[in-house]
Amino acid sequence: MLILLQTLATGIVLAGLYSLFAIGLSLGWGLLHTINFAHFSFVLLAAYVTYELSTAAGWDPVVTMVVTAPIGALLGLGLQLFVTTFKIDVFGTLIVTFGLFLIFEAAMAMRWTADLLRLPSEINPYFTSAVRIGPIRVSMLLTIATALAVLACVGVWWLLKHTRTGRGIRAFVQEPEMAAAFGVNYPQLSLVIAGIAGATAGLTGTILGMYLSLTPTVVEVWIAVVFAVVLLGGLANPIGVMGAAFVIGMVESFTRQFADPAMARLMALVVLIIVLVFRPEGLFKRLVQEARE
């Protein structure tokens, strides 16, 4: 029973990290029609900023979020302005942001080299710390990520559902002409979403900066699972993102605990393929529809 609970807890916090990583991508794709491959670069840049501020300036790595979130937001805003200005369509954003991804990778390799950079344990106690709930222990870092993910997802859900900004954006996504006729200023509202998406990238970066050894390509191993969460959860649906991350986190956690750990990621992707075949709108179609109404 204890093992079962421990596995469940591990799956939940893993899902938290996946949600935090995926929410920005999902928002951009669903509401801004931007498939932002550069989201991964924003995350990695934030991770390097955390590394730099912690090692060179002696900041507590968690505190660096006050810098990385705004940096992420600014990057998101900049990209959205670019996309809007040049009227790039959804396919075009994929190509453009993939190009940006490669440029960022090269630039980070020039700045920080291809070397492995890890925050020393004395300034990053979070890496090895655990949160204890009775006999259950989960990673402190992943718990922080989960808290941030819940804040971000619930916050975005509330914004979309209960604010004028959110209603305006949703209206524009469904009926652009009609919404414009009613005075919805989409370019302006879209910047809000882009900023939020970018900020979540910044927060994710700080977590990964504490979690991983950094190299300019380290973020690539996350691409598959993050896209899986986005597609499973349904676009622009923060609650769906959390649900999808929960499914993937659980599949991975239970596979690692009770089966061959090497199959964990594969099992998660198999789930994605099955869902895409049988439920192409994602696992949470009803939630997506509700969120859009």
């Binding site: 070397d115 890890r118 344990s121 090895t128 222990r137 896209f227 956690s253 690692r256 750990p261 090497a262």
Partner: protein
């Protein structure tokens, strides 16, 4: 299908392509000696040590690729620095055959197929005189086929699948022996057997990377000089250790929580991590979150810096090595030059771990082997270079290489066991190679 969904499939295709674009490793082998007869090879001494005239004439061009970008760039950077420093040293000391040496390195982007096509270009279009192997098992395996097609001598530093290389002019310098799946684990377990609290049980945690898979699980069938069986798991059982758990994980795994729970649950005396890079530190962090520290721990190919950066968690951890920046290695030919030049260059490049160790030692030795062969035969003929290398003992920073043709150009396994003590790595086994005042330490 809506535009957004079409874009979704395009995105998934892109993601899939990126996920598939990965793989490499680390290891090497030795070449053949006729009838066991070997002759000393004075030319294997670094040419740098014999201050010579300025090199003259047409440069000798040595071509190769390295993973200057992509997932393997972090380690390939070590080989780039080692190569630059070696060639610079060579030219400062008279060059090769009295001619200047030019090193042409191309970026294979961590992709084996690209590496192969670039070697094809280097040989057929650029007409390089010699080649140096790329970094990593995948790229080396692919590029070796090109070298074989054109009959080029192919020194390489980091190929882990010893059994897979049958080309008669390949010269590995990760000098672990053809049957490393037997010799490496045996050496490690023998070191542990010397302890008062020698482990009686072991848990394996293995990365599915081909090189680590080979070393932990061995091979089912032998062929030629390759012995069947082997692998740390079987060797452990043969040596009386009880295997309590055998776990594997895929390349790129970042979350080790579930694996850590299983490791802690069985609580074996020895944790054998058949991993590479930062697998070890990540697993140790997950174990620490469970308040569990293995009594003894071995890591196959850890990135040396990150292991030290996790502090006490890795104290007492062991690994295998072929070169470390202290005695007795520093007395080997060329080791002082490697140490001084590499450390300075790595510092200038802003690397986090600047001491030359296994990777740099393998790289430097590959250049020593190539230049020894050229100087030995006083020629650029690949058949003659290969013949010379097979007939002579090569002095390198790792020690003596005797390439044996009857063992697919591998030789003895000359690895040693190193251990983290007092926050640094030290060689502890075998005793005649141990760092001064150091020996294998047990738990606690």
């Amino acid at each position: 299908m809506t535009a957004a969904r079409r874009a979704g499939w395009v995105a998934m295709a892109l993601v899939s392509a990126m996920v598939l674009a990965a793989c490499a490793g680390d290891d090497a082998e030795p070449a053949a000696a006729e009838d066991g007869e070997v002759a000393e090879a004075p030319a294997a001494e670094d040419p740098a040590e014999d201050a010579a005239d300025e090199p003259e004439g047409e440069p000798i061009v040595i071509g190769g690729t390295l993973a200057l970008t992509g997932p393997f760039a972090a380690t390939a950077q070590i080989h780039e620095i080692a190569a630059e420093q070696y060639v610079e040293m060579l030219n400062e000391n008279g060059g090769l055959l009295g001619r200047p040496v030019e090193w042409t390195v191309l970026d294979d982007e961590s992709q084996a197929d690209l590496s192969a096509s670039l070697y094809e270009r280097l040989i057929t279009q650029d007409g390089v005189d010699l080649v140096m192997g790329p970094y990593g098992t995948g790229a080396i395996t692919a590029a070796m086929q090109v070298a074989e097609r054109y009959g080029y001598v192919f020194p390489h530093h980091t190929a882990s699948l010893t059994y897979a290389y049958t080309y008669d002019k390949h010269f590995p310098t990760w000098f672990v022996g053809l049957n490393t799946h037997h010799t490496t684990p045996r050496k490690v377990f023998e070191a542990y057997q010397t302890l008062d609290d020698a482990p009686q049980s072991v848990t394996f945690v293995t990365n599915r990377f081909p090189g680590t898979d080979f070393l932990v699980y061995g091979v089912d069938q032998g062929e030629g000089a390759l012995r069947e069986g082997g692998g740390a798991l079987r060797v452990a059982e043969e040596m009386g250790l009880e295997v309590l758990e055998d776990l594997s994980f895929d390349l790129g795994t970042t979350d080790f929580s579930g694996i850590a729970q299983r490791v802690a649950a069985v609580d074996a005396d020895l944790l054998f991590v058949g991993g590479l890079g930062v697998d070890g530190p990540n697993l140790l962090a997950a174990l620490e979150q469970l308040d569990y520290k293995p009594r003894h721990q071995f890591h196959q190919w850890p990135a040396p810096g990150p292991m030290l950066q996790v502090g006490d968690l890795a104290d007492g951890a062991t690994s295998v090595t072929i070169f470390e920046p202290f005695e007795p290695y520093l007395s080997n030919p060329g080791a002082q030059e490697l140490y001084q030049r590499f450390t300075a260059a790595a510092e200038a490049a802003g690397m986090s771990y600047t001491a030359p160790e296994t990777q740099a030692g393998a790289s430097w030795a590959a250049w020593q082997v190539l230049t020894a062969g050229v100087e030995g035969c006083q020629c650029l003929d690949h058949d003659e270079i290969a013949a010379w290398l097979l007939d002579n003992t090569i002095q390198t920073v790792q020690g003596e290489f005797n390439y044996r043709a009857d063992e697919q150009n591998y030789g003895d396994d000359i690895q040693t066991v190193k251990q983290i003590q007092d926050g640094n790595w030290y060689v502890v086994w075998p005793p005649d190679h141990a760092s001064e005042g150091r020996d294998m330490q047990g738990a606690g």
